[in-house]
């Protein structure tokens, strides 16, 4: 059971901080949201489907945006199995399950961006099952080069602003939006430096820990998360880490449904130092800060269409996923790439095919496996990861 917000402030070391935040990742009764609501009577909390939700708009309306990554493998899927076929990714099923068993009671609505066929239809299914809730389907333009796209996305954001406004009874002002943008810019900045540190010293900034601290932001107000991250950066720097014989890897494919934390730990145990990943990329999908002056919605629209992280679910237009991947590999000095895709996540599965060919040509070793948020046995993954590490350690000139 997680203690609501605040518990992390007492942490005196990186390890303590991570331990304090760990429950925030796994506790899908959302204690921090409950706590927030106590402090904000009548306040609304809105669940956001993982990728590309412009949470600034919700925050500016005084609502608490909560990024929901399914049930984090914490809930037995009893009801949703009968609603979402077995050949669909777990996050769709477990998110629905949360609703059906009333675990997400503290959440009053759901924003579903048009990231994939599953998400597209899920919005309607959600609406049917939870008629009382605020359900918003956000169309993300898939045509980044089109001159019409920015204008269109701005109007789509306008629709969101209006409808959220009507629903919470307070339409966000431009100034409120700019304020939210500033807070989120700061959050992105901090998350980036956290991940950047890890590139420089992976032993110092272990992936699982970094993951947990980033994840805390999913269920905390951004301002609080910012404070948490500032503290994390201090404590992390003070940490003494053991030297280990590892392989630097770039993790790819986990942009939406998340693997269990254990999976990251298994990878690390197996000798993979994750130096770059797209885990929970939904909280850091903008490559740069958003303009905090002028028309805020236009700024958000532009930012999304011009400089958002490439994932399997946004059409890159003139940009290239291949080039992007190779650049990332280089920037992170990664020795190999791990494609970890959620089972049945079609977008990820299509991309890995093309990207693997690119890596073959570039001579970069890669490993591919699928995971499910609800998986409990990691022996196969461990075996694969160890083999992968060995294939690099034993056969590369160094070490």
């Amino acid at each position: 059971m997680a203690k609501p917000n605040g518990s992390w402030q007492k942490a005196a070391s990186w390890e303590e901080l991570v331990t304090a935040c760990r429950p925030l990742v796994t506790d899908v009764s959302f204690p921090t949201v409950e706590a927030w609501k106590e402090m904000h009577p009548g306040g609304k909390a809105i669940a956001c489907f993982p990728v590309y939700t412009p949470q600034e708009v919700l925050a500016a309306a005084g609502a608490l945006p909560v990024t929901v990554y399914g049930a984090r493998g914490q809930v037995e899927i009893d009801h949703a199995d009968s609603r979402i076929q077995s050949f669909v990714c777990s996050i769709a099923r477990s998110t629905l399950e949360l609703g059906l068993v009333g675990r997400a009671r503290s959440l009053d609505g759901l924003i579903v961006p048009s990231i994939c066929d599953v998400a597209r239809n899920l919005s309607g299914v959600w609406q049917r099952n939870f008629p009382g809730q605020f359900v918003f389907y956000l169309h993300l333009p898939q045509n980044p080069e089109s001159a019409a796209a920015i204008a269109y996305y701005r109007s789509e954001l306008g629709r969101l602003r209006r409808e959220v406004g009507e629903w919470v009874g307070r339409a966000p002002t431009d100034e409120a939006l700019r304020e939210a943008i500033r807070t989120y810019n700061r959050n992105r900045e901090l998350l980036d430096s956290l991940h950047q540190r890890r590139v420089e010293a992976p032993e110092q900034w272990p992936a699982a820990g970094v993951y947990v601290l980033a994840a805390a932001g999913n269920v905390l107000p951004r301002a609080e998360h910012n404070a948490l991250l500032e503290k994390a950066l201090e404590l992390g720097a003070a940490r003494r880490a053991p030297q280990r014989d590892t392989v630097r890897v770039l993790l790819r494919g986990a942009f939406c449904e998340q693997p269990p934390l254990e999976l990251l730990e298994v990878l690390e145990e197996a000798g993979c130092a994750v130096v770059n990943d797209d885990l929970q990329v939904g909280s850091r999908f903008l490559l740069g800060p958003v303009r905090a002056d002028g028309d805020p919605l236009a700024a958000l629209a532009e930012a999304y269409l011009r400089e958002s992280v490439l994932t399997p679910v946004n059409h890159p237009g003139k940009r290239s996923r291949s080039v992007d991947l190779l650049e990332r590999v280089q920037a992170a000095a990664a020795q190999g790439v791990i494609f970890a895709s959620p089972k049945f996540c079609e977008p990820a599965l299509y991309d890995s095919v093309l990207l693997k060919q690119v890596l073959e040509r570039a001579g970069t070793p890669y490993l591919e496996f699928e995971y499910e948020e609800k998986m409990t046995v990691f022996e196969t993954v461990r075996m694969q990861a160890e083999t992968f590490v060995e294939s690099i350690l034993f056969f590369s000139e160094k070490s």
């Binding site: 298994v266 000798g271 075996m383 083999t387 060995e390 056969f395 070490s399």
Partner: protein, 283 residues
């Protein structure tokens, strides 16, 4: 003498190989794994030493592999079956580019580079429909001994198709065939075919390249080998030694590793491979 040893703790057999400083195989030893893995490993090590009249301390580096690889307290390093089988297969057949290892519980398809580096691999977990235990069950159901199944299947005139992909349901199907009066040979062939189908599907996933080398206990099964060759439309490398591929590979890698460490700075030597910090199985 200064020797290196590789020990493969399989779910059924524990096998060990001892190499001398020149990388020549000096001894091989095997015994039933049983439930006490440490003891099995210990016994095999002693056996190896006895063969070459060496003392355990003459063994300068020992690598363990197989599902019990973490259970060898006196190992310097543990290496996965995948990496070891690749190495071993390459030693047995230097032009190997794809390894198909068929064990009792899991089957693995491995594509390797010239130097034995594992490039891509797949293994069946979750579903046993494509592994050796399937045949064991069929053999049991048909009351024939494991070593016979292969030969018998080859004598089949018209193979009995096994419709079920499930190892378990297939078993009852087999029994039905028996009572329906189908010949043991035909049923066996049917079973071999259906496993071969699934194994081929596994191999395809690593985009196999010739030569393909078969390892694991199933290599003893000529029927299986042929069923696979028919479907993969190529000759398979099979060696009577191939059950040793794991241990052999471990020994060879132990040797490289040990040489590397001596060449590198001493402080690097007492570094551990990250994975040897924890024993997941005892966790």
């Amino acid at each position: 003498m200064r020797a290196v040893v590789g020990i493969d703790l399989g779910s059924r057999m524990t096998r060990g190989v001892l190499l001398d400083e020149h990388g020549r195989v000096q001894a091989q030893a095997a015994r039933e794994t049983g439930s006490r893995l440490e003891q099995a490993a210990q016994a095999v090590l002693e056996e190896l030493c006895r063969c070459v009249g060496a003392k355990p301390e003459d063994v300068v580096y020992l690598a363990s592999t197989g599902y019990g690889r973490y259970r060898v307290p006196f190992r310097q390093i543990q290496i996965t079956e995948m990496t070891c089988h690749a190495m071993g297969a390459l030693w047995l057949f230097p032009r190997t580019r794809t390894v198909l290892d068929i064990g009792a519980m899991n089957s693995r398809a491995i594509r390797i580079a010239e130097n034995g580096r594992v490039v891509a691999f797949r293994m069946n977990d979750r579903c046993a429909s494509g592994a050796g235990r399937f045949l064991e069950r069929v053999a049991k159901a048909l009351e024939v001994s494991l070593p016979e199944v292969g030969e018998l299947s080859l004598r089949s005139q018209n193979p009995q198709p096994i419709s079920s992909i499930c190892a378990v349901l297939a078993e009852s199907e087999v029994i039905n065939h028996v009572t329906a009066g189908a010949s043991v040979e035909d049923i066996l062939r049917g079973a071999h075919n259906s496993i071969a189908e699934r194994l081929v599907a596994l191999v395809r996933q690593v985009s196999p390249q010739p030569e393909i080398t078969l390892t694991g206990g199933v290599t003893k099964n000529s029927g299986m080998v042929q069923a696979l060759e028919e479907r993969l439309k190529t000759k398979l490398n099979v060696s009577p030694q191939s059950e040793w591929a794991g241990a052999l590979g471990a020994a060879l890698l132990a040797r490289t590793r040990c040489q590397r460490l001596q060449s590198t700075a001493p402080e690097a030597r007492n570094r551990t491979l990250a994975s040897s910090v924890a024993d997941p199985l005892s966790a």
